[in-house]
Symmetry: C2
């Protein structure tokens, strides 16, 4: 018998019939012999509704009172979910963040969990209860209600799993796992049975977002086995592992992409120490986040400096860069807001050279021009013209044979050897 | 400077614009130099909405979880009301029942307040804060959320006023005070500037319901000056006093009435000791509440026994009484579900005989037949045919000159004497 923490998001409990469906899943888990702790979010768009009420009163609602207000959303969910379990004869008890207690610091609307008291939960589990905990909320040392920020319920679930040393933390959502790339773009995209923690971080931040990055980091820190599953579709989802030494690890795990990119280039910058800071300083002062950064020193001792920003910041960044260009006496500013980013992600890249060159060959064979390249230990990202995005992703997915299950192949090979 | 506890009901905070209106009233009270503690109910029909969600899941929602669910309604209100006060530059802080703490017993959905911690509230008031407390809810010794039952916010307000030894507990509602009778029925019904605690109890239970009876009893027990006022109309409302020795007390204070009555009579019951218990026992076993009871011994040694029940229980009570009639060998059962009750209420009756006979004369002069009479120290109630209700109430209101202010008359008399 193992201890499982399950988290159900707002879409999973958006009405009473979905609430009943979730209760049936929980009961089935308990019937299979497991102890179950459930973390649940506010129903559907309840948090947005409450937030809107607050903003009808003030542009910047008082953070302490906003937390008191928003925390009611999850409190409604825990009570209703317990009733749903009771209606099926499944013993269950609800706890707010304050009741558990989930102790946080006092930074209202984005507090951090500091400690979780687990006595009540353990006592209830020992009695065969399902324990239902309100996500997203906690209590500070002075007894004030706090919240963890949007998506904080994932963090609550992972923190509870860590405190209880749970065997698995299952995040139920409306996707049934992490895919090799977006199935809406590549029809034979494959659900990965497992993905490493580092790959997951890269895939999240690159757009294949199914989990809160903070929750994944938290899981990594406390080594909590994390599984992403669908509330609405049966299946074993994707397990996020922290063991990167697996022999079976494929070289490339998945392909992330983003359309929201814009590229800026300032040419012919006199190359001096600190020039990158002089260029990017004013951009960051304007609170514009910079993603990829590339600098190429030309023959003439002048530098071409390129970087990408989110498309919504393009106009502002371009204007700032024009001023910088004039100050530095550089050779002019170019930009393009119609570009996309494609990234190959895989921990296997660490030990395999040549992934980038294969990627370039595949894209070149399709006539796709690469505008910028950036690499890290476990990913290679390229910028391409937006209109080539689908073509590029599909070609790479095919070339790296991501539709095939590497574990099955490995098993096949072993069978042949034996 | 005095300490005032104000309570605003659900209608008073049913939307954001009303919430802002309430905040302005609170701020004005503070600006007038008072310390203010506010108790607030759930917005509009929020409690009903939540209760309905629970009943979509179960016919009898688990009491513990129902309390967790319903308590969110008031929690939303305290947060929004504090924001509304902040938006006007008025410092304020919210507390749930658990945070204050309002400690109750563990009887979920109808718990009783046992103790109120007042340190946090006193500390906030000392800092010039308005303290906003969630009505209706508390916390038991084990840390569970409890609720006080419908209308429990009035009780919260009175209990807080008692604990803080407040100078006045003001209950804001949608009526502007207690009237001599229903102004919708008698156009010159007069708002009473004050009413005694006992009169208020009689007027509440007889249908002129503006306050929860339990809250009024609580106020009486702890001698809390209680004032009923309108949220929407300026005025000084009605003060509920506990001093019955006032010289200025009128004989009759008000007229209460109810249409929801049904009368049952069992005739020719052989008169033996314990006969009343034999008749009413089966009625009370069926959880039917009996109001007026009258027994008349006839010449033949047989008794006529009459009583009233709520109109909704009439059919069931009639059937039970038919069985009792057969068992006792009595002379038959009569009933009438189309009757109304009219009651004169006034602590002055204690020292004035002849009120009942005046009442009978007034009704007789209008041709209204009296079907049943019951009297207590401070009221006289009669049953009349429902169709004569308005006529009777208006005639009595006129005859006892309830449209005239007895305090002004008294003052006038004093002026003339001087």
């Amino acid at each position: 018998m193992s201890l499982i923490v399950q988290k159900y998001g707002g879409t999973s409990v958006s009405d009473i019939s979905r609430m009943m469906h979730v209760a049936r899943k929980i009961k089935a888990t308990q019937n299979a012999g497991h102890s179950v702790v459930v973390v649940v979010s506010a129903m559907g768009h309840e948090t947005d509704r409450l937030d809107d009420l607050a903003h009808q009163i003030m542009d910047n609602p008082t953070p302490r009172e906003l937390d008191v207000l928003l925390a009611t959303g999850e409190q409604v969910s825990i009570a209703l979910l317990c009733m749903a379990l009771h209606s099926m004869g499944c013993p269950a008890r609800s706890y707010t963040g304050a009741q558990v207690a989930i102790r946080t610091n006092s930074v209202h609307t984005k507090s951090r969990i500091e400690h979780i008291d687990d006595e009540k939960i353990r006592a209830d589990l020992a009695q065969g209860m399902v324990v239902v905990v309100a996500g997203f909320q906690g209590i500070d040392a002075a007894g004030n209600t706090t919240t963890l920020g949007r998506g904080g319920s994932d963090t609550t679930a992972v923190a509870l799993a860590a405190a209880l040393k749970a065997d698995e933390c299952q995040i139920y959502t409306d996707v049934d796992g992490v895919y090799t790339t977006d199935p809406r773009m590549v029809s034979d995209a494959r659900r990965m049975p497992r993905v490493t923690f580092d790959e997951m971080l890269e895939l999240s931040s690159l757009g294949a977002q199914v989990l809160q990055i903070r929750a994944v980091e938290f899981a990594g820190k406390y080594n909590v086995p994390l599984r992403v599953l669908s509330t609405f579709k049966e299946g074993s989802g994707t397990l996020i592992t922290f063991d990167e030494k697996s022999m079976e690890q494929p070289i490339v795990s998945g392909i992330a992409f983003s359309r929201e990119e814009a590229k800026l280039i300032i040419r012919g910058v006199p190359d001096k120490p600190g020039i990158a800071g002089q260029i990017l300083g004013p951009i960051s002062d304007a609170n514009i986040e910079v993603d990829m950064i590339v600098q190429i020193l030309g023959d003439d001792g002048n530098t071409d400096f390129a970087f990408t920003v989110h498309r919504r910041d393009y106009e502002q960044a371009f204007a700032i860069l024009r001023e910088v260009n004039d100050e530095l006496g550089a050779g002019g500013v170019l930009g393009d807001a119609k570009i996309a980013k494609v990234s190959l992600v895989g921990v296997g890249m660490r030990s395999h050279a040549g992934i980038a060159s294969t990627m370039f060959k595949v894209l070149g064979a399709e006539g796709i021009n690469i505008q910028l390249v950036a690499t890290s230990e476990i990913k290679v990202s390229v910028l391409v013209d937006e209109k080539y995005l689908e073509l590029g992703v599909r070609a790479l997915h095919e070339a790296f044979r991501l539709h095939e299950d590497p574990y099955e192949e490995e098993a096949e090979r072993r069978r042949l050897r034996a």
